[in-house]
Structures are given as structure tokens and as C-alpha cells.
């Protein structure tokens, strides 16, 4: 892991300034407030990535906290030539892979089953009880659960590629770096993941109850 982190640290970021890298440099000099800002900014994407990779809410939060602790401890090796997000996601993925390997060595901990208390349904942040009662909200909740299930069924690297792509700030080059692969391979992973999701979510795509992203006139597929 150290070698990979070092590799990320030496990567070129281009001329685009990274304000997070600046914060990390301040944190490296012992500025706790700067590091707090970084934790606050990245807590949600890191928890989301770890939670969807490990599928155990409690463990996911512990691992997510370790990601930031590891980042702080490794601050000395951080080079501002790398985008901070790329570096942090690399740490997160490495810790997730370590945990998955640990689980594989100790099969008593189920690798892909949900943790006790995890119903497989997604937990909506700040859920509005009135909204949950609405039929449309119930449908959406069911759809979200189906998407989470389909995501969970993807191979780890495909799921990670898809989840990292949701972060708008991450270019393909950085996603490839985090996944330790090439840009074409990353695009191929994303393509395969999307095709699998389409297969898994076919019943929802065909039902017509779900909101459509665009209204294309003269649709040759009216059931969509």
C-alpha cells in the first residue's frame, strides 16, 4: 500500500490548483483546523464508498474513520503534485480491500451478506416521514433498494469505478489511478457495470412507473 500511495503522490496533477491539497499541506504542518475541513468535506463520499464496498454500516464507519487517520499519519508522504481526493480514495480502497481479504481469510464473517440489522434497503439521509408515506416516495425507495442490491452484486472493481465516477471532481485519469489500472480499462469497467445494472434493473426500466430522464419524441420504445 505504501508503494501505491507513494506512486499516487508522485503523479502529475497538471496546472489545476487543488484547494484540498493546500489544506492537506497545512495539515501536514500540524494545522488541525485544516484537516477538520478536509474530514468534513470528504466524510460523506468516503463513508458512501466504504459502506457500499463492505455492506456493514458499523464496520464501514470504523474503516472510514481509519481512512482519515491513515491520511493524517501519512501526511508526511503526501506530495501536492497529486490531487488530494485521488490520494484519499486510494487509501479508502486499499483499506476496503484489506478488510475484504481479512473476511475472505475468516469466512465466519460473511463476505457479501448484509450485516445484522441491515435490511438491504438504503437509508435516506434526513428522511422526511411525510414524504415516505407518498406512493411516489415508496416507489422511489423500492427502486433505490433495487439499485443498491444491483450495485452490491457487481464485482468490487466495477462497483468502485461506478461509485468513483459519481464524484464529479474526479477525472478518468484519477479514477484509473485509484483503481490501479488504465483509462481505457476504467471506461471498460464502467461500461460493463452499467450493462449489468441495466440487466438487473430491467423490470424497473420496463414498468413505466419510474421517472424518465429525457422525453424523447417519436420514441420507438413506448414501454420505457
Amino acid at each position: 500500500m505504501r508503494q501505491r500511495l507513494a506512486g499516487v503522490g508522485l503523479a502529475t496533477m497538471g496546472s489545476v490548483p487543488d484547494p484540498d491539497a493546500e489544506l492537506m499541506l497545512r495539515a501536514k504542518r500540524g494545522d488541525r483546523a485544516a484537516f477538520t475541513l478536509l474530514v468534513e468535506k470528504y466524510q460523506q463520499p468516503i463513508v458512501s464508498l466504504v459502506r457500499r464496498t463492505l455492506r456493514d454500516p458499523d464496520e464501514a464507519e470504523d474503516i472510514a474513520q481509519n481512512v482519515f487517520l491513515q491520511a493524517f499519519k501519512s501526511a508526511g508522504r503526501y506530495r501536492p503534485t497529486a490531487r488530494f481526493a485521488t490520494w484519499l480514495y486510494t487509501i479508502a480502497r486499499n483499506l476496503c480491500l484489506n478488510e475484504l481479504r481479512r473476511r475472505a481469510r475468516h469466512p465466519a464473517d460473511p463476505l457479501d451478506s448484509a450485516a445484522p440489522g441491515d435490511t438491504g434497503r438504503p437509508e435516506v439521509q434526513n428522511p422526511d416521514p411525510h414524504a415516505l408515506l407518498a406512493p411516489q416516495a415508496l416507489l422511489r425507495r423500492e427502486l433505490d433498494a433495487a439499485i443498491e442490491l444491483a450495485l452490491a452484486g457487481l464485482p468490487e472493481i466495477q462497483r468502485s469505478a461506478l461509485l468513483l465516477l459519481r464524484d464529479r471532481q474526479l477525472p478518468y485519469e484519477d479514477i484509473a489511478q485509484i483503481l490501479d489500472t488504465t483509462v481505457p480499462a476504467t471506461k471498460s469497467l464502467i461500461h460493463r457495470a452499467r450493462e449489468t445494472l441495466k440487466q438487473q434493473l430491467k423490470p424497473y426500466l420496463r414498468s413505466g412507473d419510474w421517472p424518465r430522464p429525457i422525453r424523447l419524441p417519436d420514441s420507438t420504445n413506448p414501454q420505457l
Binding site: F35, V47, E123, I147, P213, L216, T220
Partner: protein, 167 residues
């Protein structure tokens, strides 16, 4: 398919297509109606993924991390204690291990030497017995066996005539 549309397919996983992008897609689909269903499902899945709610983060997440950062001195000193323990005990342990290995080696060599000596003695006795086995067995003949065996053959010249007579 034009490159910008191919990029739009992947980008739709992270952002909603702009009105201009939709207009260009529509324009392209007018000439490729067989691609419409594929595009609709791609954009639909993209929208669903974009709108997928994130799992909640516990309110104590950030304070827990910052508290853990304040504790490294304890963890560090524990690690230092362990390190000091090994630094203190490793050289004597290493010496003890080396001594034990040398002792085992010496004991093994001595044992092998003893077994070799034992087997050589047995071979010599067997040869001596073989030498007298041709003679008719008589207790009188064996009465001075040990005395004769100890005689140095070089010091006492062989009595060829007596030997010939005995044979």
C-alpha cells in the same frame, strides 16, 4: 457514434445532460432510431445512480476522528514500550539462540563420532571372530584368545612353518 455522444453516455452517470447535449443527441437519434431504446435506458440508469441517496454519516464522525488524532501519544508510547522491550531482549535472546544451536551441533557431532567408533569396534571383533572360525572349535584354543589379540603382529614375526603345520 460521435465521440461527444460516447462521452455523454458515461458523463450521464455523474451529471444530467445539458439541453444542448439533449438537442444534439436527438438530432443524432433521428438518423439512428434503432439506438433510441439503448440511449433511453442508459440515461435512465444514469439518472437513478445520480439520485441514489447516500448512506447517512453518524453525527459523531468528525469529533471521533479528531479525538483519535489527539490520542496518538498513548498509542505511540505503547508502541515505543514494545520496541524498547524487543531492543532490550533481542540481543540476549539472539545470543542464547546461537549458543543453543552451537550446543546442538556439537552434541550431534559427538553422537555421530561415538556411533562411528562403536560400529568400527564391532567390525574389528567380527573380523577377529572370522579369522578363528576356520579352526575346529575348542575351548582350549580360545583360552588365550584375548592375550593373543592384544599382541602386536608387527612385533612378533609370523611363524610360517608353524602356520603351515597347523593348516
Amino acid at each position: 457514434m460521435p465521440g461527444h455522444l460516447e462521452a455523454l453516455r458515461d458523463d450521464s452517470l455523474r451529471r444530467a445532460p445539458s439541453a444542448e447535449e439533449i438537442r444534439r443527441l436527438e438530432s443524432w437519434l433521428a438518423g439512428h432510431p434503432e439506438q433510441r431504446a439503448q440511449w433511453e435506458s442508459d440515461l435512465q440508469v444514469g439518472q437513478w445512480l445520480r439520485e441514489l441517496p447516500d448512506p447517512p454519516v453518524s453525527p459523531g464522525f468528525v469529533p471521533k476522528i479528531m479525538a483519535a488524532l489527539d490520542r496518538p501519544s498513548a498509542a505511540g508510547s505503547r508502541r515505543l514500550d514494545l520496541l524498547s522491550f524487543w531492543r532490550l531482549w533481542l540481543p540476549p535472546l539472539r545470543w542464547a539462540a546461537a549458543s543453543a544451536a552451537a550446543a546442538i551441533l556439537l552434541a550431534s557431532a559427538a553422537f555421530i563420532g561415538y556411533r562411528h567408533h562403536q560400529s568400527q569396534t564391532r567390525v574389528e571383533i567380527a573380523r577377529s571372530v572370522a579369522q578363528i572360525s576356520d579352526f575346529p572349535l575348542s575351548l582350549d584354543l580360545l583360552s588365550d584368545f584375548d592375550v593373543i589379540r592384544r599382541l602386536d603382529p608387527a612385533a612378533v614375526p609370523v611363524d610360517e612353518e608353524l602356520l603351515a603345520a597347523l593348516q
